[in-house]
């Protein structure tokens, strides 16, 4: 697994954001003018660590090869002696976790909510401005829109300052109001995708999954709001035992009520957080019961609405649907199994979450020749 947090030694009190650079010898001359004041450059490296210097430093990073860090943006926490790799320059999967608070408690939540909140938006803004050209930055939580004033301000500033950046924001869709209309239309929505979960067309099933009465009703109103402000919505449905039988019904609901979504993502469950605790009652073996999934996405796609399968090992998906299953498991969470040995699909397959149980639960799985 790719480490998202590294050990550092710094001479500072307060947290700060810094970008690490490594220059080849011949570039060294031009180094000063190439560095901005949030950057440090590699001075020397030894087997235990690497030393960086610059306006933002000095800083010593321990236990990781500096070649893996070139261009990375770190949030350094001097007191703890750690740094979070907010942006890994070579990865398409960079996400800012803006809060751990949430007003829902979903039965399969991979990141169970906590009461405590630290506002890091100032650091996120600096980090976003240092992101590589054309990057997409994920925003997640907790529930980011619990702090929507801060979130909107952050988005507005970064979208203006960096016309090349894109955002993918996960939200439970509970907190938009008609009053947010002008703020939302003021953001360049063509560069934002809002990932919003809907688990069932049946309010009682949805509300039960998210652990909040009335959540679906609120969500549907807010989906209409998102449509009216021209937001691009990626509708996300985690496939689980409680909602799998209703998937075709949900598909019908989408064709009638949510034609404006950009994509419908049907997602396999992640075995972590509450997902792990409730695994036995949640995990739906789509390798055996794919028909509900297939019928649902065929219906939606026949109406010209895009549908995708996220986090499905390719061999568990019938061949006719595999082109709809991109490798969505982020690089740092991804692993393959013994069964994958010699599989011809491995290059296109997202494999498994690192923490997926050994007894994977799929009735049909294994290398495809």
């Amino acid at each position: 697994m790719i480490p998202l947090r590294v050990k550092v030694e710094v001479n500072a009190e307060e947290p700060f954001v810094v970008r690490l650079r490594s220059f080849e010898a011949e570039e060294r001359e031009r180094e000063p003018e190439q560095l901005n004041h949030f950057e440090v450059s590699l001075e020397r490296a030894d087997p235990d660590g690497a030393d960086y210097a610059g306006e933002g430093g000095p800083i010593r990073v321990l236990g990781i090869d500096p070649s893996e860090l070139d261009g990375d943006v770190l949030l350094v926490n001097p007191r703890r002696g750690t740094a979070d790799r907010l942006i890994r320059s070579t990865s398409p999967h960079n996400t800012f976790l803006v809060t751990e608070r949430c007003d829902q408690v979903c039965v399969m939540c991979s990141q169970p909510p906590k009461k405590h909140h630290v506002d890091l938006f100032t650091y996120f803004e600096t980090a976003a401005l240092l992101a590589p050209e054309g990057a997409t930055i994920g925003i997640s939580g907790g529930e980011p829109t619990l702090f929507k004033e801060r979130l909107f301000t952050f988005l507005k500033r970064v979208l203006v300052a960096r016309p090349d950046l894109f955002f993918h924001i996960l939200t439970n869709g509970q907190h938009f109001e008609e009053d947010d209309r002008s703020t939302m239309t003021g953001l360049d929505q063509s560069r934002i995708v809002w990932g919003v979960p809907l688990y069932s067309h049946d309010p009682s099933v949805h509300d039960q999954v998210v652990g909040k009465q009335g959540a679906q009703e609120r969500l549907l109103d807010n989906l209409a709001f998102l449509c009216r402000v021209g937001a691009a919505v990626e509708l996300r449905t985690v496939l689980m035992q409680p909602n799998a039988p209703g998937l075709p019904e949900l598909a019908r609901f989408i064709t009638a009520m949510l034609p404006f979504i950009r994509t419908w993502a049907v997602m396999q469950t992640e075995n972590i957080g509450y997902g792990r605790m409730n695994w036995k009652t949640l995990f739906y073996d789509s390798s055996e019961g794919f028909d509900v999934v297939g019928r649902a996405i065929d219906l939606v796609r026949s109406r010209g609405i895009d549908a995708r399968l996220y986090n499905f090992p390719l061999c568990t998906v019938p061949e006719a649907y595999r082109h709809l299953a991109p490798a969505t498991i982020s690089d740092w969470k991804r692993t393959y199994r013994e069964e994958c040995e010699g599989c011809s699909l491995k290059a296109e397959c997202g494999g498994f979450f690192e923490w997926h149980p050994r007894d994977h639960g799929y009735g049909r799985l294994g290398a495809v020749q």
């Binding site: 009216r228 009638a256 034609p259 404006f260 065929d298 219906l299 026949s302 109406r303 010209g304």
Partner: protein, 469 residues
């Protein structure tokens, strides 16, 4: 709940098809029609209409918003000119029976772009916004002037980041320079293949040697290039149609799986030929039979072929975003995303308009490359280019899926205000959409398999077309 207005039409099985203005549709019995018409909807009716987004509780709620969205998306609104049809020469080395009006003999003079016209065309292209362009070379036989084609292509490759070229050629004569032109990956071939050899010879080549030359070149093209490089169209004479089975075999043999069956275009002959119900009815029967033939054949072979226009109409029914085909969309505003440039540098809104003008019936040119597009004239044409307020269409269940064809109306009737049901366009499209809905509600496995293939989904089941029972 407020219910959006529903229009209805009797289906071939005696039940009723209902559709709202945003293209939401379902099938029901005439008992429902009675309740709907007399304001006596049952609780079941209301629930069904609600779930299908045919009504709303309050403005801006989700059903209201989704209806508005679907309605708005169904309006075609191309805003960028990115497709030009160029006629660098009117000369041709064939003399097909139905093409007299739009060609000149191979040796004739004065039917090719002059140097000034070429300059004008390039400067017109140069003013387009980009970043993409599609150029279709028509004729005449454009391969008689490969030099002009090269000039245009070189220019476009330079100016646009994505460009694509289609040569509509009869494939009669291909010299080394022609092959070199066609070899490029950004260049595609479109040709005419009227079905079996006999029909092709009768309608086009008229002579065994000429026919041989065509098929030799067709074989060579198919062998040389990957599938998808070449497309082909059959022109069908409804009075003397080809063997449609043999036509499909022939198309498949040449790797063309999408067949756009086109009736002979009686451009300009409307006055001479009787164009009554008879021709429309005969054409509709032929076309409907062709769809059934395709379904049976696809089932038999397990390899899927389609009738291009039927698939397009099918998608118009099911999807709100299927407005990329210029023959059927609504509104169908002219010179918005594509335009034709004739051999003399004049602009026309469509190729049919060009031919119609050529026989002197009416001048439908809309400016030329020297002076630019004549927007005032385009506006006049556009005033009839949508079906929203047509007194017949507003009562028709197919209105959200259908379109208009102003130029065809002018060509056949000399006017644009003929009652819809009396037009060729309406007669064809009523039948086409009747067929689409017949197919959508069929339950047999062969039909479902073809439907799935035509829609690009893995499977189609009978729950996918809504029924209110």
């Amino acid at each position: 709940m407020k219910v959006w207005p529903l229009k209805f039409r009797e289906m071939s099985d005696g039940s009723m098809l209902f559709a709202d203005d945003a293209g939401g549709f379902f099938k029901a019995g005439d008992d429902f029609l009675d309740r709907y018409a007399t304001d006596g909807l049952s609780a079941d009716d209301s629930l069904f209409l609600k779930e299908g987004s045919h009504g709303f509780e309050r403005e801006r709620d989700l059903p209201w918003t989704s209806f508005a969205y679907r309605w708005a998306r169904r309006q075609s609104r191309p805003r960028k000119m990115n497709y030009v049809i160029l006629v660098p020469t009117l000369r041709c080395n064939l003399a097909c029976g139905y093409c007299q009006v739009s060609r000149a003999p191979e040796k004739a003079r004065g039917f090719d772009w002059s140097d000034e016209t070429l300059t004008g065309v390039l400067s017109f292209l140069g003013d387009l916004e980009g970043p993409d362009i599609k150029v279709e070379f028509q004729g005449g036989e454009p391969m008689l002037r490969v030099d002009l084609l090269e000039a245009v292509r070189d220019y476009c490759r330079e100016k646009f980041s994505q460009s694509q070229f289609v040569v509509c050629t009869n494939l009669q004569k291909l010299d080394a320079r022609a092959w070199a032109f066609l070899d490029a990956d950004d260049t595609f071939i479109s040709t005419s293949l009227d079905g079996d050899r006999l029909t092709h010879e009768r309608q086009r080549t008229h002579d065994g040697d000429v026919t041989d030359a065509f098929f030799r070149n067709l074989e060579a093209v198919v062998a040389r290039y990957p599938e998808g490089k070449i497309s082909a169209l059959p022109t069908v004479d409804v009075a003397n149609p080809p063997d449609l089975d043999a036509l499909l075999d022939n198309y498949e043999r040449y790797g063309v799986r999408s067949v756009y069956l086109r009736p002979i275009n009686h451009q300009g002959f409307a006055r001479k030929f009787h164009q009554g119900d008879n021709v429309v009815a005969r054409w509709n029967r032929l076309h409907s039979g062709f769809i059934d033939l395709l379904i049976a054949r696809n089932h038999r072979t397990g390899r899927f072929m389609e009738e291009y226009y039927f698939s397009q109409c099918l998608k118009r029914v099911l999807r709100f975003d299927a407005d990329n085909h210029v023959d059927i969309r609504n509104p169908n505003f002219f010179a918005s995303d594509y335009v034709v440039v004739d051999h003399d540098g004049r602009f026309y809104p469509t190729d049919e308009a060009r031919m119609l003008s050529r026989i002197g019936r009416i001048d439908l040119s809309i400016g030329d490359v020297a002076t630019g597009i004549d927007r005032a004239k385009v506006d006049v044409l556009n005033s009839g280019a949508f079906n929203h307020f047509d007194p017949d269409c507003i009562h028709c269940a197919y209105q959200p899926f259908c379109g208009t064809d102003v130029v065809d109306d002018i060509s056949r009737y000399g006017r644009v205000d003929v009652p819809r049901p009396d037009t060729w366009f309406c007669g064809r499209h009523l039948a086409l959409f009747d067929k689409v809905f017949e197919i959508l509600y069929r339950n047999d496995a062969p039909t479902r398999a073809s439907l799935a293939a035509w829609l690009g989904v893995a499977a189609w089941d009978d729950g996918m077309a809504p029924v209110h029972s």
